[in-house]
């Protein structure tokens, strides 16, 4: 464990919810204990159904835990808030707002003037390589561009923690690699804390300072690994040839697979 208080502290968290279709109560998380450290890029990886998205939604405040401790900056998380920005898998850009207005939305909610928030939004769009698309509507953009806009919208609101729920799952492999590289570049400038959920082992190693493996079904964390590969070496496709990357990939893949078989 690192020194100092964790940014987000999860202790013995239990989360269940009523399944909308079947009406049955479903236990999604149990005995979940995890620290998210200030400034780190933490990636959670696990098979589908392991509760990784539920964990993210709970930290975001969309779901209330049944029991356990869930704190940010030593204060309980009571609901959604702008201190935790969320990037969704399906982008969640508002179709009736232009790209720049989407990116400026959080600042609008804060009462920032129109000129000022548009200026800030355009800066973040430029950072995300979307300066040209500012006046377009989301449906006019490709999947990759929409996700860039969604990331820009979250960053423009300057959250302390960024929660990313399989954000690149819906884009093609090539775009995905570009988005991963851009995300690391942009994150390097903001140095906020990132909690990133994915089912891709390669993505987890490429992005993470640390990788947490969850097991299938509710239960404690299966394993935590530090990614000790220098960030300067994390470039696609070279990383594929890196010995340490291959080692970690093998190790994590085995962990993910074992949990699947065991369940």
């Amino acid at each position: 464990m690192s020194d100092g208080m964790p940014k987000i502290k999860v202790r013995d968290l239990k989360v269940s919810y009523v399944h909308a279709a079947t009406g049955q109560r479903h236990l999604a998380l149990d005995n979940m204990t995890l620290d998210i450290r200030e400034g780190e890029f933490l990636v959670v990886v696990g098979p589908s159904g392991c509760g990784k998205s539920t964990l993210l939604s709970t930290i975001a405040g969309f779901i209330s835990p049944q029991s356990g401790v869930l704190e940010m900056n030593e204060r309980p998380i009571a609901g959604p808030g702008s201190d935790r920005g969320v990037v969704f898998q399906d982008y969640a850009l508002l179709p009736w707002k232009t790209v720049v207005d989407n990116v400026a939305l959080g600042l609008k909610f804060k009462g920032v003037s129109k000129t000022e928030r548009t200026k800030t939004a355009k800066e973040f769009l430029a950072l995300a390589g979307l300066a040209e698309a500012a006046e377009k509507y989301p449906h006019e953009l490709s999947g990759g561009m929409r996700q860039r806009a969604a990331v820009a919208r979250t960053l423009a609101n300057a959250p302390e923690v960024i929660l990313m729920d399989e954000p690149f799952a819906a884009v093609d492999a090539q775009t995905r690699m570009t988005l991963q590289e851009e995300l690391v570049r942009i994150w390097g400038q903001s140095k906020s804390t990132v909690f990133f959920v994915t089912h891709s082992v390669e993505e987890a190693i490429f992005l993470g300072d640390r990788v947490v493996v969850l097991q299938e079904g509710p239960g404690p964390v299966k394993a935590e690994l530090s990614v000790d590969i220098d960030r300067s070496l994390r470039v696609w496709p070279d990383l594929n040839q890196n010995g340490r990357f291959q080692q970690l990939r093998e190790e994590i893949t085995a962990l993910v697979r074992k949990t699947t078989v065991a369940a």
């Binding site: 009736w96 939305l105 919208r153």
Partner: protein, 266 residues
């Protein structure tokens, strides 16, 4: 843009050809039928009746009366429908509770209500407006509630995570997100209201296009009845072309929320 304009022009020409064919068929039909102009007036008879009504100022006065009633009724109905939808829809439980009831009233057509409205409110503007508000509000309420029930939760979650307050989320997220449903309901309601107006004026008014249609027939001035019918059709075309379509184009089409019949708008 030029190509789009040409396409628009071609559409207008095709539409005009359709209307021309209709008048031609009407002329041929009434000439060949050999019955009197009381029974089946020719386009020329109707045109003369139109000029006469216009000249006497009757048509203008009736038109203004009808339009005033229509827009007042539709505007009020829109307001009532929206407010009711927001009140019922803010809570999913209440929305579920009222949906069957709303469907029930939605199905009771305006002409079925007219007798009872006349008993309650007498002949006149109150009955007409009540009828129009009723027929506009229910489809809007019905469609808006359906939209609320199916509203994507991620939009609301995203807005909450961006720090939006309840009121900010309603104005920035929920209302614009419901616009396709509101427009669908409004289209249905505005169409119903148009029919409702004619029936209401036939029974509860002594002026207006509906009155003209029924009064003409009762006084064996069939040409006047047909003038009223044509005015009714033209009015709807005008409302659709100059109000509904441009509004939809600037909103839900622009936002990619609907795919138009000719493919996606770009």
């Amino acid at each position: 843009m030029n190509a789009a304009r040409t396409r628009q022009g071609q559409k207008a020409i095709k539409g005009a050809i359709g209307i021309g064919l209709f008048f031609l068929a009407w002329q041929i039909g009434s000439s060949l039928s050999g019955v009197g102009s009381y029974f089946f007036p020719q386009p020329g008879d109707v045109f003369r009746a139109f000029v006469e009504l216009w000249h006497k100022g009757i048509l203008e006065a009736y038109l203004l009366d009808s339009l005033g009633r229509y827009f007042a009724g539709v505007g009020l109905g829109l307001l009532v429908g929206l407010i009711a939808a927001l009140c019922l829809g803010l809570n999913k439980f209440i929305a579920r509770m009222f949906t069957p009831l709303v469907s029930f009233f939605y199905a009771i057509v305006e002409s079925a209500w007219l007798p009872i409205f006349v008993i309650w409110f007498g002949y006149g503007i109150t009955t007409i407006l009540t009828l129009l508000v009723y027929v506009v509000a229910f489809p809007i309420l019905y469609n808006t509630l359906a939209g609320i029930r199916a509203f994507p939760p991620t939009y609301i979650n995203a807005a909450k995570s961006l720090g939006g307050s309840r009121l900010q989320i309603i104005t920035n997220v929920i209302l614009p997100g419901l616009l396709p449903n509101i427009i669908t309901g409004f289209r249905v309601g505005a169409g119903f209201a148009f029919r409702g107006l004619i029936i209401a004026e036939a029974i509860a008014a002594t002026s207006g296009i509906g009155f003209l249609i029924f009064d003409g027939a009762a006084n064996q001035q069939t040409d006047r009845t047909i003038v009223g019918m044509i005015v009714m059709g033209v009015l709807w075309l005008v409302i659709e072309l100059f109000y509904l379509k441009p509004f939809e184009k600037a909103t839900i089409h622009r936002w990619g929320l609907v795919v138009s019949a000719e493919g996606r708008e770009t």
